[in-house]
Each structure stands twice: as C-alpha cells, then as structure tokens.
C-alpha cells in the first residue's frame, strides 16, 4: 500500500484528468495487478466491497468500459513522465551497476488492423506484435526503465537511447550494459555501441555476437590450445559436470582494420554425444586487464535473471494482457496510429509491481528473497479479512490466522508506525491488523 500511495501521488501530478476517470482508472489498473485479476473483462464479475474501496468508490466496483476508456486516452508524454518519476534511480546512483536491456514481444492477433510485425521468440515466428523494452538491474533484480514500441522496432534501434537514459538519470559510478544479439545484428550496430563505451568514461558494453556462418567458421578454426576448459555443475546432482571452453580472440568488423578489432570471448559449451557443441561468442569493451574471459562470461550470464523476470511478469502479472498500442479508432485500418501511452503505462505498472514485490519479499527475510509475485500474492495478499471504516481510519483486519503471519508482523508494525493516509478514502489513516495466533499446538 505505501508504494501504491506514492504512485498515486505521482500519477496525480503527471497524468491529466479531463474526463474525471483518473482515480478509478489508475487505481483499478494497479490493484488488478496486485490482487491478480488477469483480464480487464474479469471486472464484470467483481462484486467485492474491498476491491471497490481500494479502487476509489465504495459504492460499486469499477467497470471495464470506464477503465478501458481511461487507458485508451493516456498520452505518451504524460506516461513517460510518470515512468521517469517512478523509476528506481536510487538503486543505480553511484553504484557499479550491471544493467541488461532486452525486449519483450507481446503478440497481437488482430486481423482488422494491419500492424507492424516482429519476431516473437517464444512462438519462433514472425508475426504481428508490439514490444516493450526494459532496462533491468541484474544485481538488484529491479526494472529501471521501459519503452514501448511497435513490433518492427528492434533492440538495436533503442539500445543507445536506453543507455543514455540510464547514464543521465541513474548516474551510476560505472555502468556495465548487457545486450542480447538483437542489439548487434549488423557490424555498424556493434561499432556504435562500442564507440559509445569508448567515448563515455563510466560505460562498458558486453553483447552477444550474432552467429553468422562466416564468423562461426573463424571461431571454430581457433587452435585448441587457446581454449581453457572449465567444469561446471551438471543439471542435477547425478548429472555429469558440464564442460565449457573459453578462448579470447579479436573480431574485425566489416570495413574496419585489424587495429580496430573487437575483443571477443568465445565460449564453447561441449555437448556430450552426437549433438553439436553450442557456441556463445561475446563482444565486449572491457579490456583484458579489467576482466578475465571467465569474469566477462559470468557477468553476462547474470542476464538470465532478466529473461526470468519476463516469465514472472507474463505468468504472474499478466504482462501479455497489456493494453494495445495501436489505435482502434484509426480511420485507416491498414495504417493504424501507434499510441505509446496505454501499452507503456501497463507495462511499467507491471514492472513496478515486480519491484515492489521484490522489496516486500526482501523485507520479509532471506527465506522469501526472490519469491515470485504469485507466491507472495497467494501467501500474503489475497487473504480473507474485514474492513472497518471509522471516521478517522480504515482498519484492515485479517481475522483468520494464516501461515507465515509472524513474518509479516514487523512490516505491519512499520507500516502502521508510518501513519499512511489514504487520499481516496477521505484521508483516513491506514491501520493493518492481524488476529492473535492461537496458543499451543
């Protein structure tokens, strides 16, 4: 709740309210994600007085028409402002940050509107989609920035923009950015990123190289003695260890000389049996004195947390149900306008929820750190309880004892001590309360 109050305060300052639907639309969009309402049309079945109170009108639950209309009219510049002001820049400030940039494609199945196509990795096909590009701090495990685009925009188109944004607003002491292969499809893209790293004192870049056949052929021809073999634990306890061989070489980009060659870490994962080995080449601006090949590989592997966060967002926070970016009221359905506001707003609210749940789990203790949204929601958020509205306060009483209730007590005491007031409930004081656990077995 304290985070929602902050977001609401910022939303009031950033978003216009021409139709008087800001309060209901914004609060419903936030609380839907928190309590786990998957789709906007599920609001039709809602008749919960608690949800009605949370969303700003104790008289009735919100309707999908009103919430949908509010989302549709969100302006991109106002949403950008909201995203910027709610970004957790403090996790980057004066830190040695490791930030991954990657895209998430949201497939669209519209036949009526001809929207731009892009490659959807999970479906392994080229189809109509819209994309959300996120910056993710892989050390703190928090989303730090977002940008919504049509489906034909690629990571290489926004990589420079997102990097500059992080440097400008996050002000890290050292920023090490990680990109997937989409950021360096052409040698010119790779050079642009590496040039930015050369020109900026506190920026380093590592990106996975595209496995073009002519490059792979060169890497495969590297002498065997240049590879250093490492053993890594297998998939499970009984599995044999994995063998990884690392070599360091340089790659001459197209149209460049040998002096401009890029440092390349070639990682060869040996697959036992008849299967082919896997090759993971990395371009990096870090020189050999700054980090060994193994260290570069270890840091790049942290990017997997970013991919994992997308899975969590999709399955636990319903990211793929984000509002459409194309304008359904365009006069020409063959060329509908792209409205960044609704898509980016819902995408960023999902990321904010991810961050807030991360903070919540971290405060609960080390046993809960890294818990998924769904786990925390099932354990702590969707609990039966009673609401008592007095003239001065709103008392939320969890009247049935639940598992891990004791873990929550320090947080409840902290929130109560902070004396949060809820603006949309006549500024009443928020008080959280739990029942007394039964004594004995």
């Amino acid at each position: 709740m304290p985070q929602v109050l902050d977001w609401w305060r910022i939303a009031q300052e950033c978003l216009s309210d021409d139709y008087g639907s800001l309060k209901r639309g914004f609060l419903t969009s936030v609380w839907m994600l928190i309590v786990g309402i998957e789709r906007i049309f599920h609001l039709e079945e809602m008749d919960d007085p608690g949800f009605a109170l949370l969303t700003g009108n104790p008289g009735s639950c919100p309707t999908r028409q009103m919430v949908g209309a509010w989302r549709k009219d969100l302006l991109w510049n106002e949403v950008d402002s909201f995203c910027h002001r709610t970004s957790p820049w403090d996790v980057l400030r004066q830190q040695d940050s490791l930030v991954s940039f990657d895209e998430h494609s949201i497939p669209r199945w519209t036949k009526k509107f001809s929207i731009r196509k892009g490659y959807v990795t999970t479906r392994n096909k080229y189809m109509r989609c819209e994309k959300l590009f996120y910056g993710y701090d892989v050390r703190q495990r928090r989303f730090v920035t977002v940008k919504a685009t049509p489906g034909n925009v690629e990571l290489r188109d926004v990589s420079g923009l997102l990097t500059r944004r992080i440097l400008r607003f996050g002000q890290p002491k050292l920023l090490h950015t990680l990109f997937d292969a989409g950021a360096g499809k052409s040698d010119a893209d790779v050079r642009r990123l590496l040039r930015a790293a050369e020109e900026t004192a506190n920026l380093e870049v590592t990106l996975r190289a595209c496995r073009y056949p002519h490059r792979v052929k060169v890497w495969k021809q590297l002498p065997v003695d240049e590879f250093i073999a490492y053993e890594e634990p297998g998939n499970c306890q009984a599995a044999p260890p994995k063998e990884v061989r690392l070599a360091e070489t340089t790659t001459v980009l197209k149209g460049e000389s040998l002096e401009q060659a890029v440092r390349t870490i070639v990682c060869r994962q040996v697959i036992p049996g008849p299967k082919k080995d896997r090759w993971h080449p990395l371009y990096t601006s870090l020189d050999a004195e700054q980090s060994l090949p193994r260290e570069v590989l270890e840091e790049f592997r942290q990017r997997q947390h970013h991919e994992q966060s997308y899975r969590v967002e999709v399955h636990d926070a319903f990211l793929n149900a984000a509002s459409c970016g194309y304008d359904k009221e365009s006069r020409d359905r063959q060329r509908p306008r792209f409205c960044r506001g609704p898509l980016q707003m819902i995408g960023w609210l999902t990321a904010l929820l991810y961050n807030a749940v991360g903070d919540f789990a971290a405060e609960l203790g080390s046993a809960w750190e890294g818990s998924f949204i769904r786990t925390v929601r099932r354990t702590f958020f969707t609990r039966p309880g009673k609401l008592y509205c007095t003239p001065t306060s709103v008392i939320v009483y969890f009247d049935r004892e639940f598992c891990y209730q004791d873990d929550l007590l320090p947080m409840i005491d902290r929130i109560n001590a902070q004396k949060h007031r809820i603006p949309w409930m006549d500024n009443r004081l928020l008080v959280l309360s739990v029942c007394q656990p039964r004594a004995g077995p």
Binding site: E44, M46, D47, P49, G59, S60, C61, T63, Q65, K386, Y388, C389, T390, P391, T392, S393, I395, V396, Y397, F398, D399, L409, I412, D413, N416, A417, L429, V431, L432, S433, V434, C435, Q436
Partner: protein, 209 residues
C-alpha cells in the same frame, strides 16, 4: 529505610516520627514492618508492600514519614497513595515486566474493532478484560481512551458512523447479528441489497440470436 546493620531505634529516629505517634501500638506495627523489611530485603516489591500497609493501617503516620521509613521519595509515595491492593500488585508485576503498563499496538485495532462492533454495550472494563485475555497485556484507561479516539473507535465516533447511513444486513455486521438473533418470521422474503450494491447493467452490444 531499614538498612542492614541499623537498629530499630535508629530506623525510627531517622524517619523523624513524632513522640505522639510512637505509642506501644504504633511501635508494635513499626517493629513488624522493620522485621519484614529486614527479612524480605529492600527490593522494590517489599518497599511497595510495606509502604502500602503503613499508609493504610490507619495509625496516623504522614506520607512523608512513611516515605522516610521505607526509603522512597515523598512524591513517589504520594503517587502510590490511594491505590487499591490489586493495583499495587499489578504495578509491581508491570514494574518487573519493564513498565507500569503495557503498550497498545496499532495492529490490535482489528480485534478491538470487531469486539466493539459485536458487543456494542460493552463497558470499558469489558474491553480491558478482552485486551488482557487476548494479548495478555494490561493497559491503563487513559491509554485505552487515547487509542480508541485515535482510530475512531470511541463511542462518539462509532455512533457517528452508525448514524451516518441506515445499516443493512449485507454491509453491517452488527445489523446482521441483530437480525440473526431475531426469531424468523415465516412468509417474509429475504431483504434485497440496495441497488448500488450491484454492478451497472452492461451496455455493450451482444450478438443477436
């Protein structure tokens, strides 16, 4: 104060008890108190018990004299005066627990609100007993008053909240309990919730069939 190594006469002299309050009857009681303090020790509980007895035995000693006898300050003795034996024992217990009274935490509001809603006629003593039985804490009436007022659970606030709108079974727990306690009237339909309880009727177009 009955220090070790001090005689009974010295103890009485140091307390500056006037001669008229040193009759054989007075001295017998004082000797018993002296032996008690010598035997039980000079801890807080013994001093409180001895002071409480000397103040309430109706032998005419002044507050300051009793304070000097048991070794406490005059204002402290004044504060401890006119308390019941039960309150003295409670204060001793709380003193050992770290404070004279326990603290009411904000997270206790839920059960307290539920108790007040389900027991509208409950007195403050009933509420104190409920708090003590639930959380095993004893709080002062002042603390309870401030707590209830802060969270809008005092009688005036509850009455104001109740009078603001007519109660309905679907919304008001108290009304529901009252209705359940009433004998059911055969043939009467169940009351319908107010119209604003239901969602608006859908106005989207549906395929005609």
């Amino acid at each position: 104060m009955a220090r070790e190594g001090i005689s009974f006469d010295q103890w009485v002299d140091e307390a500056r008890i006037p001669r008229r309050l040193q009759s054989p009857e007075h001295l017998a009681v004082l000797r018993a108190a002296f032996v008690f303090l010598q035997q039980a020790g000079n801890d807080y509980a013994s001093q409180r018990i001895a002071a409480h007895f000397l103040l309430n035995c109706q032998l005419g000693w002044k507050l300051a004299q009793v304070a000097r006898l048991v070794g406490i300050a005059r204002p402290t003795a004044s504060r401890q005066n006119k308390l019941s034996s039960r309150q003295v024992v409670c204060e001793i217990q709380h003193r050992f627990a770290g404070r004279p009274y326990e603290k009411l935490l904000p997270r206790y509001t839920g059960p307290i609100a539920q108790f007040l809603v389900t027991h509208p006629q409950a007195s403050r003593d009933d509420l104190l007993d409920f708090i003590e039985s639930t959380w095993n804490v004893r709080v002062s009436l002042t603390a309870l008053h401030n707590f209830l007022k802060q969270y809008g659970l005092d009688r005036a606030s509850l009455d104001q909240a109740a009078s603001g709108k007519p109660s309905h079974l679907a919304e008001d727990e108290r009304a529901l309990i009252e209705a359940l306690e009433q004998p059911s009237a055969p043939g009467l339909p169940l009351p319908r919730p107010p119209e604003d309880f239901f969602l608006d009727t859908l106005n989207t177009r549906v395929p005609s069939s």
